[in-house]
């Protein structure tokens, strides 16, 4: 029963990367509904995909790139340009969390991707470059510019190590 096995393994993969994809989508979209839509689209596409993945890293890279591309296409779609996105206020239990969250939401999308992968997923610059298919120097540049913007917004209260 290779199909059943494949389906089971895909389910395990979805459960494994579900949190990562959802959080990345949330960091890009800024609201729960859109983040859930993106997450659903990505994993449905993954389930329907007949692509042969060589390794777990390959699957992870594929999922990340599909998520990023899906978020980009969402922002560039004519529907998104003609409508105003949902604004969702999240109440955090500390002021610091709230400041950091809303400061990152104000960053340009390309900076938010690398900031999220670097600080939340603890990926190295090389891994981010590999997963997103861009140069390491590009990742470093975007990280640097994102940090500078965050320092300005957060008034230098945080250490960006």
């Amino acid at each position: 029963m290779p199909d059943k096995d494949a389906h089971i393994s895909k389910r395990e993969i979805i459960e494994k990367y579900f949190d990562m994809i959802y959080k990345l989508s949330y960091s890009q979209m800024g609201n729960k509904a859109d983040a859930e839509d993106i997450t659903q689209d990505v994993f449905v596409k993954f389930m329907q995909c007949d692509k042969e993945f060589s390794s777990d890293e390959h699957i992870k890279a594929w999922l990340l790139r599909v998520t990023v591309n899906r978020c980009k296409s969402f922002f560039t779609s004519s529907w998104q340009k003609k409508t105003e996105g949902l604004s969702e206020d999240i109440v955090f239990n500390t002021e610091e969390k709230s400041d950091v969250y809303y400061a990152t939401l104000e960053l340009p999308q390309k900076y938010r991707i690398v900031i999220h992968l670097f600080y939340y997923e603890d990926m190295s610059v090389a891994d981010i470059a590999k997963y997103l298919g861009i140069k390491e120097t590009t990742v470093k540049t975007q990280l640097h510019r994102g940090r500078e913007l965050l320092k300005t917004k957060l008034k230098g209260e945080y250490d960006f190590v």
Binding site: R11, I14, E15, F18, D19, Y22, K23, Y26, S27, K32, A35, E36, T39, Q40, F43, V44, F46, M47, Q48, I90, F92, N93, T94, E96, K97, S98, V100, Y101, T104, I115, H116, Y119, Y120, L150, L154, E157, Y158, D159, F160, V161
Partner: protein, 287 residues
């Protein structure tokens, strides 16, 4: 200094997805799989419908197109088709039938400008009729009135369509010796017909003759697969009917003709070049 990494991580850990989102994704992924299969079914159904449509069209074409098909003979040397008779109006003097001047005629046709006479019968009075009807309407009306001769030199029926109603009528054609026919009609037909020099009578000593309709057809073969068919009948008393909606037979001065005008008629002289192009070779005959 607060570490940005720790604060950022704790902030996003507070954000939890809907508890049912994962199960929704799994269910939807399976549903979408079914949709893919359904798409294949739709594609296959569309393909099958298209194939059936094409098949019906082909069958319909094969079964029903020969109703309006022009009867023709496919031979090794030429292809005969019935073309629209050329209609011209030239006065006839002294019961003499002349080949009319056609402005579009070829050089060889000039040889046809010869007086053909010696017919003992009188000419019927010319009657104006409508001549603007299309060509292909000639054939069914001919078939419905009288059988039609082929241009087959041997006198045998050789029509292209098997179900053509004309074909059944043609089976009455038989071969008659030329001398017998000359005696029957009263004059030497071949001597009265003038055609371009490359045209030769193809029937040797016989002529295809239809007893039912009293029609004999003289077939001449020329160079470049051109040919001319001239039909004769002895019936000289019957004028053409004054029916403008259908094409009638006209028999004047021993000349048999299929035409739609009562005062203007023509030899049924046709030519074919390279087995594809049918052209009218001869001029009209006007009484």
């Amino acid at each position: 200094m607060i570490l940005f990494r720790d604060t950022y991580k704790s902030a996003f850990k507070d954000i939890e997805p809907d508890s049912e989102l994962l199960s929704k994704i799994l269910v939807k992924g399976l549903e979408e799989k079914k949709v893919i299969h359904r798409k294949w079914v739709y594609s296959f159904g569309t393909l099958a419908a298209s194939f059936a449509l094409v098949l019906c069209s082909v069958i319909g074409y094969m079964n029903y197109t020969d109703v309006n098909e022009i009867p023709g003979v496919v031979d090794n040397s030429y292809v005969r088709q019935v073309s629209e008779p050329y209609i011209n109006e030239i006065p006839v003097e002294n019961n003499t039938v002349k080949i009319a001047e056609n402005p579009t005629e070829r050089k060889e046709n000039k040889a046809l400008k010869q007086v053909i006479s010696d017919s003992p019968a009188k000419q019927p009075d010319p009657i104006e009729k409508n001549v603007d009807e299309p060509v292909n309407t000639d054939v069914p009306s001919v078939a419905s009135h009288e059988p039609m001769l082929t241009s087959e030199p041997s006198g045998e029926a050789a029509y292209s369509g098997e179900e053509n109603p004309v074909q059944r009528e043609v089976s009455h054609i038989e071969e008659m010796p030329l001398s017998d026919y000359y005696q029957y009609i009263g004059f030497n037909v071949l001597e009265k017909i003038s055609l371009p020099s490359d045209f030769e009578y193809s029937g040797e000593d016989f002529v295809p003759y239809n007893k039912t309709s009293d029609v004999a057809m003289f077939s001449f073969l020329g160079d470049d697969s051109r040919f001319a068919n001239i039909s004769f009948t002895k019936n000289v008393e019957e004028p053409a009917k004054e029916d403008k909606s259908t094409n009638e037979y006209m028999q004047i001065n021993g000349m048999y003709n299929i035409n739609k005008s009562t005062d203007t008629f023509s030899f049924e002289i046709l030519t074919n070049i390279n087995e594809t192009e049918v052209k009218e070779l001869a001029d009209s005959l006007t009484k």
